[in-house]
Amino acid sequence: MARALTRPPRKNPVLRTRLPTLPPGARSRVALGLTAAAAEGRFALQACRDCGAIQYPPREACHACLSGRLAWTPQDGAGELLAETTLHHSNDLFFRERLPWRLGLVGLDAGPTVVAHLHGDCAPAPARVRVTARLDRAGQAVLVALPEQETPNMADDKQLRELTCDPKFRKILVTDGKTAVGQALVRQLAAAGADLIWVGYAEPWKRFPGFDELAALPQVSLLPLDVTDSRNVRELAAEIGGKVDILVNNAEHHRTYGIANRAGVEDARAEMDVNYFGLLRLAQAFGPAMRARGADGQASAVAWVNLLSIYALANFPPHGTFSASKAAARSLAQCLRAEMRPAGVRVIDVFPGPIDDEWNQLLPPPKLSPAALAQAVVRALQDGVEEVYPGDVAQEWLARWRENPKALERELAQ
């Protein structure tokens, strides 16, 4: 059984911080289909549309009937552990620093045999396991065999923790504690075992509702942070940047205008200043230190979370300028992801549908509660995914957008 993780000792500032190394990240283009699904927390393999045969490793043609029509199809991952090994030697730096390392050969019930990372709680072969896909520190999908049933401390397994961004014992910055979403995030991150949570608030001369409840949490430290103030962001990074393991950027400015029903650019500029430039300021100030701490012991820098919006995918005209600012932030997050990848720091984008707050008052339900959104963020960290679409509205928009983006554009313009 996996040993429960204990709080890491304080870092000795004299010792050298190990530089991050990554597992091998090269993949063929077709294999990136596995990564695309794993980035959303799904395990999918190619299934032949003509004969149904399941394929692995990823292929360009069906191994059974040579059809070229292979579709990525969700899998339950049930299978049998056929053989296992424990590596005591590796030519690869990343694994060399983490030996011993357990691997399994698993025969999936669906057909293929796969090589997978093997969770420490899996019984010796032959044993039933369930295989799933996770992103590794290189940001590429790998398969991991888990015990069929949940075990105590399962998430604390040394190998699994290399594939996740679990908040447990990590130090987290939440950039805006003033909103209901921010407060729900802080509470749920604390409940998930965060070691320390810095919570920003933009107007330090005002006590916002909920301030005292937040301040009463033992993990929480409230700090003035206005993401539109470059100097403020830089100074905060100088103070705590070297310790932030997870940054959750939930600072958001939201107004409900399109183009014609509002004169001037002030509101749109304010949205861009928080939603887009705010992300850019934070990334420039906090990114370098996080990149340097990608392998800093058991609680290394591990993730950056952006609160975006499902409107980032396709413009919702009644919230037109807000949609545009979130689309800009989504694009910048892709840049940030590329720049954080060499350090193994995951960039997680959260795309909620309308949140049940003041600025979505006129939208019909279902609306996403701040608690549900916060839960989705914690889950995304624990699963180590890259994209989350929490709630029914986001899921439906995503499906419509994937199926036909032009159709969605017309439908949103009704």
């Binding site: 090269a26 692995y56 490793p57 053989a83 296992e84 090994t85 005591h88 590796s90 390392w101 045999t113």
Partner: protein, 389 residues
């Protein structure tokens, strides 16, 4: 399917080894050039007499056999590049034999060689195949260690093999290697040392794993008449098989392509397993030797452990195996590992084995196995050779 034509009239001659080194600053071209020069010298030929060339190498990239023709200044009328690793020796022999029989070439030089720089093995592993890059290398072992650890663990569980069984093969081969001048391992190995070695990928320990090195092996394929005219001792090719991606639906490899084609092999050769005086298996890990002994009919599937316990595998013993020490004691010079057993078989059959000469060496079998593309070896082959009288 009709019976295959035999290999009548084909001679295999001039076993050549370019001495192995652990690391080299030379390129694969250097080792292959030395191998070709060795063949020419051994056979008393001029370079232009070589009109067929077969080349196997992992580290020749970006070149292949065609680039090597210009590099070495040869102009063959028959050329083959055989990227089949441990099966490349048998496959080169089969193809060259047909070329000679058909008259497409008179004298085919079969070369295999690789260099080994300090970091080249890791780079070879990283780019070994698309499946390996997508589905094995990202998991940390990269190379064949983890794959053979799975096969070994599974075989041990399925048939009750023990570490002592595999150790017995490794220890016997080391004893065989002590009389082989090109072996990189020159110290005796005891079973205690084998069992006490550090783990590499459980259940594999240090002496279960082949050591990468640099070197080359080569031989000539020509007609018996030409070989006699040159005064070259030679062996006759009685039969040969190859098979690729056999038993693809087996969830884990317990058998190789030999099991599919061995009846054909023995029928073509006109001999049975009981007529074989010695066997050279492909032995990058001992488990695959045991599978070859089973699949080539020396014992039934699953009886490998009992077979191992029954024989000595030394040259003076009951079942001479890998009489030059095999790759486990000589070293694995990349694709040359797929030639090592054939070249040693030739030495035994042409009276060139020196102190390693077996008391009886009339018919020998050499087998090959290669290309762990994903979870198993895909290529297998075997050849039965006989002393020419």
């Amino acid at each position: 399917m009709g019976a295959r034509q035999g290999y009548a009239g084909v001679a295999v001659a001039a076993p050549v080894t370019v001495p192995y080194v652990r690391y080299s600053v030379r390129s694969a071209h250097w080792f292959l050039a030395r191998a070709l020069a060795g063949l020419i010298e051994r056979a008393g030929l001029r370079k232009r007499d070589i009109d067929g060339l077969a080349v196997s190498s992992f580290t020749l990239a970006p070149d292949t056999a065609i680039g090597l023709t210009q590099h070495l200044g040869v102009s063959p009328r028959w050329l083959d590049h055989i990227p089949l690793g441990g099966a490349s020796g048998v496959v080169a022999l089969r193809r060259a034999a047909r070329a000679v029989q058909a008259g497409d070439a008179e004298i085919v030089a079969c070369l295999a060689g690789d260099t080994n720089h300090v970091d080249s093995f890791r780079l070879t592993l990283a780019n070994f195949s698309q499946f390996a890059r997508d589905a094995v290398y990202p998991y940390g072992a990269g190379g064949p260690n983890a794959s053979f650890a799975f096969l070994t663990a599974h075989y041990m569980r399925a048939f009750g093999a023990t570490r002592e069984d595999f150790g017995k093969l490794c220890v016997a081969q080391r004893a065989n290697a002590l009389d082989y001048p090109h072996a990189l391992f020159k110290q005796p190995l005891s079973l205690e040392q084998y069992l006490g070695a550090r783990p590499i990928a459980a259940p594999l320990h240090l002496f279960d794993c082949v050591m990468p090195c640099a070197g080359a092996e080569a031989f000539l394929v020509l007609s018996e008449a030409r070989s006699r005219a040159l005064g070259l001792p030679y062996a006759r090719l009685l039969g040969a098989i190859e098979r690729h991606n056999a038993f693809a639906t087996d969830p884990v490899q317990l058998r190789g392509g030999w099991a599919m084609d061995r009846d054909d092999l023995y029928a073509q050769a006109g001999v049975g397993p009981g007529d074989i005086d010695f066997v050279q298996t492909y032995d990058d890990y001992p488990v695959i030797t045991v599978m070859q002994l089973e699949d080539l009919g020396f014992c039934a599937k699953g009886e490998g452990p009992a077979f191992v316990r029954r024989h000595t595998f030394t040259r003076d013993g009951s079942f001479p195996l890998n009489t030059s020490g095999g790759q486990l004691s000589v070293g694995q010079a990349g694709a040359a590992g797929g030639f090592l057993g054939l070249v040693e078989a030739l030495r035994q059959l042409t009276g060139e084995a020196g102190p390693r000469a077996l008391a009886r060496a009339e018919i020998g079998l050499a087998s090959g196995f290669g290309m762990i593309n994903f979870d198993r070896g895909l290529a297998s082959g075997a050849a039965i050779l006989a002393r020419a009288h």
